[in-house]
């Protein structure tokens, strides 16, 4: 799998700490929803740093992919991608990678995300909507507050629900708080493969709730996000 040069064609902020990069690859992206690319940066002295980022855009046969990057204060790569990169710059990428946490748009799927864990699940949701198979997916996303919601304009819908853990928006009927069995009870009736994505504590908590609600462990796929360091 070769390293290729990807050109940054657009950038925009999702939240104060998360930015989406739109990258043009040399050829069509063959990624499946849920997969990731590795981004590699090289300093003039030859020093290299690489990190994996999930693709937020659905497969569409085109050359462009979107990666949503959370800026971590101690992050060597994320701080550069946020602060040092401009439209028109090129970065090296390799991929797509990952055959486990993928959804090909053809089976029922329950998506359970926490915070930045929404990224690969968004590719799945976008694929469902683009192929008019929204009835196949249900998404439950937990975020701290409305300002932390990625894809805020696009995400909410009949099949996608956001719950807030610290600050709920005005008029919200559900008071802010972490995910509870009640939040997931209705969703688990939507039979299918479950994709859990978020920080390790979120992934553990959400998996625990799902197992407690009777979801067999072999139907749960987990992707844990967070600093590779």
């Amino acid at each position: 799998m070769p390293w290729v040069d990807a050109q940054v064609v657009a950038m925009h902020d999702e939240t104060p700490t998360a930015k989406t990069l739109r990258l043009a690859l040399p050829g069509p992206s063959t990624h499946r929803a849920g997969q990731h690319y590795v981004v590699r940066l090289t300093a003039p002295d030859g020093y290299q740093a690489s990190r994996s980022y999930s693709v937020a855009s659905a497969p569409d046969g085109g050359n462009e992919i979107e990666l949503t990057i959370e800026r971590l204060d101690n992050g060597e790569v994320s701080t550069f991608l946020h602060d040092g990169l401009d439209v028109g710059d090129e970065i090296e990428v390799r991929g797509p990678i990952g055959g486990w946490f993928v959804w090909d748009g053809d089976i029922p799927a329950l998506l359970v995300g926490g915070g930045s864990g929404i990224v690969p699940l968004m590719a799945m949701l976008r694929l469902a909507r683009a192929t008019r198979r929204s009835e196949l997916v249900r998404l439950i996303l937990s975020v701290r507050s409305p300002v932390d919601l990625y894809y805020a304009q696009e995400l909410p819908g009949p099949e996608a629900e956001v719950v807030y853990s610290r600050v709920a928006p005005p008029g919200a009927t559900r008071p802010p708080g972490r995910l509870t069995p009640d939040d997931l009870e209705g969703a688990v009736k939507h039979d299918g493969t479950v994709y859990v994505c978020g920080s390790p504590p979120f992934a553990d908590a959400a998996s625990g709730l799902l197992v407690g609600l009777g979801v067999p462990t072999d139907r749960i796929r987990v992707e844990r996000f967070g600093p590779s360091g």
Binding site: Q48, A49, S50, G84
Partner: protein
């Protein structure tokens, strides 16, 4: 060499510890948890470990029996394919050599498939788990191995990328051929040598 990325200085080459394989960095005190499946809750009173396949005798140990075997420790470095490395860590358990010798390998043996209580699998050449290169460990830095890191016991093959060190290990099947395990079927390299940067299939 890759051309450089405009504006990126990074942490610098001079700062790199020589113990780091290419493309890796020292994560210091952290130890990220990366797992594809739900963390299991395993009871040592019913825990077993089995060596089977191309051996003279299929052998199973209980937790207590495993602890009765001659102990062995590893002190050194571990490397994750996601690019973090932990330098100077210490694990304790039993050498895989001890387990394979008890079961007695048949001459045709060339590979093993490690399996976990969760259904996870990973394949390894026999040469990478013998001659003091691999362990089944249950202690990390003198304390019981935490469940999210593979406790009560995991496989440890520190000279290969850490996905080969199967968490919640339940056995080794000895084989006369190679076969891809879980991550190997999902895009990762069959062998996984960090010094050759064998991260993905085709590397």
């Amino acid at each position: 060499m890759a051309k450089f990325t405009r504006g990126f200085a990074g942490r610098g080459k001079a700062a790199r510890d020589a113990r780091l394989p290419p493309g890796q960095y020292d994560i210091g005190r952290g130890w990220p948890v990366l797992t594809a499946e739900v963390t299991p809750n395993l009871d040592t009173s019913t825990w077993t470990f089995t060596v089977d396949g191309l051996v003279q005798r299929e052998t199973t140990w209980t937790w207590d029996e495993m602890h009765g075997l001659p102990p062995s420790t590893f002190s050194g470095d571990i490397h994750c394919v996601t690019t973090w490395s932990k330098l100077g860590v210490k694990f304790a358990g039993v050498a895989v050599d001890t387990l394979l010798n008890a079961a007695e390998l048949l001459p045709a043996a060339t590979h093993v498939m490690a399996r976990s209580h969760t259904g996870y699998t990973t394949n390894l050449p026999l040469a990478d788990v013998t001659d003091g290169k691999a362990w089944v460990v249950w202690e990390y830095e003198g304390a019981p191995l935490a469940v999210q890191h593979g406790g009560p016991a995991r496989l440890l093959v520190p000279h290969l990328y850490f996905w080969k060190s199967a968490k919640w290990v339940s056995g080794l099947r000895v084989m006369d051929h190679d076969e891809p395990g879980f991550w190997e079927r999902n895009g990762y390299h069959d062998r996984g040598d960090p010094w050759l940067e064998q991260r993905y299939q085709g590397d």
